[in-house]
Structures are given as structure tokens and as C-alpha cells.
């Protein structure tokens, strides 16, 4: 091999080195790129030759917005329904663990006939399934209180991928889940050893153990080498870095389903096991900090529901006085981000534009006022209000903050 390989490597290496340039992004970071930032006349210079790994155009800088515990997807920079894997939102409870796929194991035990340990290659041998669905954090609304707020700030804790793996029902059959098992514990191997209790029915219906995301191995930030995937349910239940499933006849009442991921509701009650994500939508264009011009504006955005397909999306361009039907881009999938568009002629007057999602159960995305009226001002998770963009006379689009009352 050596001679041919060496020569090939040399050639590739030589070409790659010649094409590599260090450029400064608009964010001020020095990044290595294969493509020069500004070619004087691209028809007069031979560009970089094929390489082992692609890059974004140096003119494009989509970035997650990170805090200590999460990072948000730049919804306003995306065009379709699939979130590029490196822009998928993150929420970790103790950082991203480094897991060797060769020593990875998934233990399934408890109320089963055959407690079993599966290696990653075992999981990959089972019949596989792919599914496109969103994953959304139930804390995906941060009570924005100023105009300079982007779609990423409002609800960037939702992302969508094509996930590939094995149906959990296949594994349930493999280990022989006992009829009296009604819940299962899913446990991660991160430093939080993150755990949630899940009704067994969800496991039989549509849960998956997934090892691939958008055609390649899952990213470490999304649970490499394998995670649970519960379509339509609050993201933290889709336990990442999954190491153990314990079948049981009741919930374990872990910290993440008692003192966290629960929300105060009316009459002093605290609502628990609020798994399903209610229908929601967001206009991603035009949105802050975009400035529009008088004339035709295509309003674009995403709508999704944890209860099924999006039935329709309605757009108001007059602050909610009247609503019109937006066009839905196919595919319109079950529990999936759905892209919508609405062509609007802006006459130059100050106005508010907003969208609301209606899912196939007939649920209509509520206003913040309706949510607070139903749950009280001290409520927390699962806030999915209609949000408005204020279009000012000069075309500047800003978020319209709402009173929390």
C-alpha cells in the first residue's frame, strides 16, 4: 500500500495545505478554512481541490448561543426543517461526557424476563428505523423583556434531525418486558447520571434508541454513541448517553421529574410528568434584527406539535385582528418542525406580525395571556405563546415584549 498511499496522501496533503487559510470571522474568531474569504475574481484562480471534510462558506457564520447549561439554535439562519447537527441546541446537566463506542453498553433489566447488556454493535444489528422529528426543551421560552430579541433567543431550544436507530419495542421484545411493568427508568452516563421515568406505553409506541443523526453518528452533544428518543415529548426525557433502562411498576421520582421539569399551576398545584410539547410556531423571517422594505415580504417560519402533525398555520399582519392561512411546505410530518410561508405586501405602516400553529388535534397555539390565565403567573415550563414582531415605520423589525401578568 505504502508507495501509492504515500503519494496520494502527499498530493492531497499538499493540495489541502495550499488551500488552507486562516481567516477572521465576523465574530472575531480566527478559523481555519479551505476557501479564501474573498476571491478577487474566482474565474482567474484555481480553487481548493477536493478534501476529506467539507466546510461552510467563510461568509456564513451561524452560531449557537451558549450559556453554562444550554445553547440555542440560530433558527433565523436556517431555511429548511433539518437543523445542521453542529447547530442542534444543547441542554446538559453536567457537561458532555466522552464515551468510547467500543466499550459502550446499554443494560436493560428490572421487570424483564432476560436482563441483557447490548453493545453498540449489537444495537446496530437490529432492524433499523429512521424518523424525522423535533426535540424541544420544555424550558424553551425565556420571558424575553426587550425589543432586541431574535428567534434564537425566544425559542432556540428546539431543533430537528433525521434520527436512525432501533425501535425500543424491538428491544422490549428481545428482553421480554413483563406485563406488570408500567414505567421504565432511562439513565444517562453523563456526570449528572441524568434519569427520567417514562411510561412503558411510550416505549412500545414510538420510542427509539438512536445512534445516528442526519446520516452520521450522533454528535457527542446530542448523546453519542446512543440516546433515547421520545418523539413529541420534552427534550430532557430523551436521555442522552443512555446506559441503562430499568423496567418498573412505578416512577422513580427522580430529581428531574419532581423538583425540576415540573410547573406550578392553578390552586397551588405542581404539575408533574408534563411530557407532551404543545403546538407552537415562530416567524423566523422577518425578525429582529432584519430591516424590511416596503412591498412584498415573504413571511417564513417553523411550526410543530408534540401531539401530531401541523394542520395549519395562521398569520396575522395586523396585530391579531385578522388571520390568514400560511402555505405549508411538504413534508408535513408527525411531531416535526414544519416550514411555513406567507406572502405579505407591506404598505409601510407600523404593524405587528404573528403566527399561530393549529395541530391535527384542533389545538390552537395560545397567547401568553391565555397561558397565564390557565396556569397562574408563577407557572414555568411548557410556555408556547404566540409571539409578535413589531414592524416599525422604517422597516426595522423588533420583538414585541409582553407584560408577564
Amino acid at each position: 500500500m505504502s508507495q501509492k498511499m504515500t503519494r496520494r496522501r502527499l498530493l492531497l496533503g499538499g493540495a489541502a495545505t495550499a488551500a488552507v487559510a486562516i481567516v477572521k470571522t465576523s465574530f472575531g474568531k480566527m478559523v481555519q478554512t479551505g476557501i479564501p474569504e474573498a476571491a478577487l475574481d474566482p474565474t482567474k484562480h484555481v480553487g481548493p481541490l477536493p478534501s476529506a471534510l467539507g466546510t461552510r462558506s467563510p461568509f456564513e457564520h451561524p452560531q449557537r448561543k451558549a450559556t453554562l447549561t444550554s445553547s440555542q439554535t440560530p433558527l433565523q439562519d436556517l431555511y429548511g426543517i433539518i437543523t445542521p447537527s453542529d447547530l442542534h441546541f444543547e441542554r446538559h446537566h453536567a457537561g458532555v461526557p466522552a464515551i468510547d463506542p467500543n466499550t459502550y453498553e446499554l443494560l436493560i433489566h428490572g421487570m424483564v424476563d432476560r436482563p441483557t447488556i447490548f453493545s453498540l454493535s449489537d444495537l446496530k444489528r437490529f432492524p433499523s428505523v429512521s424518523r424525522i422529528c423535533f426535540v424541544e426543551c420544555s424550558g424553551n421560552f425565556r420571558k424575553p423583556d426587550k425589543e432586541s430579541i431574535t428567534p434564537q433567543d425566544i425559542c432556540g431550544l428546539t431543533s430537528q434531525s433525521e434520527w436512525t436507530g432501533v425501535m425500543l419495542s424491538t428491544l422490549f421484545r428481545e428482553v421480554g418486558v413483563k406485563p406488570k411493568a408500567t414505567w421504565f427508568l432511562a439513565e444517562g452516563s453523563d456526570a449528572a447520571v441524568m434519569t427520567r421515568s417514562i411510561p412503558v406505553s411510550k416505549g412500545w409506541e414510538e420510542a427509539m434508541i438512536v445512534y445516528a443523526q442526519n446520516g452520521e453518528a450522533i454528535r457527542p452533544q446530542q448523546g453519542y454513541p446512543a440516546r433515547l428518543l421520545l418523539p413529541g415529548w420534552e427534550g430532557n426525557t430523551s436521555i442522552k448517553w443512555l446506559r441503562r433502562i430499568e423496567l418498573s411498576d412505578g416512577p422513580f421520582m427522580t430529581r428531574e421529574e419532581t423538583s425540576k421539569y415540573t410547573e406550578p399551576v392553578k390552586d397551588g398545584k405542581i404539575r408533574q410528568f408534563s411530557f407532551t410539547m404543545d403546538a407552537r410556531s415562530i416567524i423566523t423571517y422577518p425578525a429582529y434584527p432584519v430591516q424590511v422594505q416596503k412591498g412584498w415580504v415573504e413571511i417564513r417560519g417553523l411550526a410543530w406539535s408534540g401531539r401530531g402533525k401541523i394542520a395549519r398555520v395562521e398569520i396575522s399582519t395586523n396585530a391579531g385582528k385578522t388571520w390568514n392561512i400560511a402555505q405549508l411546505q411538504e413534508p408535513v410530518l408527525d411531531k416535526a418542525h414544519t416550514y411555513f410561508r406567507y406572502l405579505w405586501q407591506w404598505n409601510g405602516d407600523t404593524t405587528e406580525i404573528m403566527s399561530r400553529a393549529i395541530d391535527e388535534t384542533g389545538y390552537i397555539q395560545p397567547s401568553l395571556e391565555q397561558l397565564i390565565k390557565a396556569r397562574g403567573i408563577g407557572t414555568g415550563y411548557h410556555l408556547n405563546p404566540v409571539t409578535a414582531w413589531l414592524v416599525k415605520r422604517d422597516g426595522q423589525v423588533v420583538y414585541k415584549p409582553e407584560q408577564w401578568k
Partner: protein, 191 residues
Amino acid sequence: MFKLRMPYWACVAGIAMSSCEQRADAVPIHFGYGRAATANEIAGKAIAIPPSGIGLPPGNGTVQQGAVVYASKCAACHGVTGVEGPFNILVAPDTANAIPFDRAPKRVKSIGNYWPYATTVFDYVRRAMPYNAPGSLSDEEVYSVTAWLLYANKLIDTTTIINAKTLPAIVMPARKYYVTDNRKGGNGPYE
């Protein structure tokens, strides 16, 4: 959906179909992948403690010993008395029966007023704390720091010993407020 040949044993057992010829929807119940988990392997990993307390290890914890553990391993993040932070406040500033959370957006949620089960304290501390060295406390230390946290939240007195028997018996004052999700979708009233 899957193109799989029906295995011999499934034919003998008469499962799912009467013929052993290839059929598009034939999926075996068992593939035989994976290996049997031993009791030791399970015991080493099955650390979750449900409200019944099943699975709690031997040992005892005291408030006094817990105060020592808390001061050296927890106070830097959670504050000297559990209320100072900078990270999660562990000691409730009020009782579970103070003004309801749905009417008090700024009310601090903590062990004394927002944790429905005492077993969760043990489970969570043992699996995830201290943040900079998770899983480093002995079971006795976890029992003790659990005892101190319950004491600091005025849920037990200084003489209560916390162990596999006493911990599940503690009734947390917030528990009565917990309800299971009742949202249903559809066009009914918002929940």
C-alpha cells in the same frame, strides 16, 4: 417492513405465522443479540432509589456528620447555610404551605417546599454531587448530608438517624401539591 426469514424455532413455536417462507412483515421476537447481564453487573449499576426506598444501601447518617460533609463538600456552591448560593438554593426560605407558587413567580423552590420525596435527595446527591466530583461520597456521607439537608429545611430534628428504613418514611410537605399532567390537546380549555 423488514425482510427477514422466519427462524426455525419460531416456526416450531407457531409464532406469528403458519408458514416458514419469507414474508415481508415477519419479524422475529428474539434476535439473540446482546449478552445476559449478571446479577453483579446489575447491582453495580442499578443505583436509582424510588419512593419505596427499595435499593437503599446499608448504613446510617446523622445531622452532625452531615453538617461536616456539607461544609467541606457542598457549601462552596450552595452557601454556608444552604440559602446563599451562588448555585441552587437547597434550604427553603418558607414552608410548603406559604403563598402558592402559581401566585408567587419569585418564590424560591427548594427541598423544604418543592421536593415531594425525601428519597430523591439521597438518589440525586449520590448520583450527581458534588458537581466537581460526582459519585465520590460514601453511602454514609450521602445519608448524612441528606440528614443535614432535611434538618436545615426543618423536616427532621437533630437526633433523627437517616437510613434505609427512616428515609422513605419521611412525608415531604410539598408532596400533596403534586398532580399528574392533564393536558390533552384539542380545542378544549387551555390547561
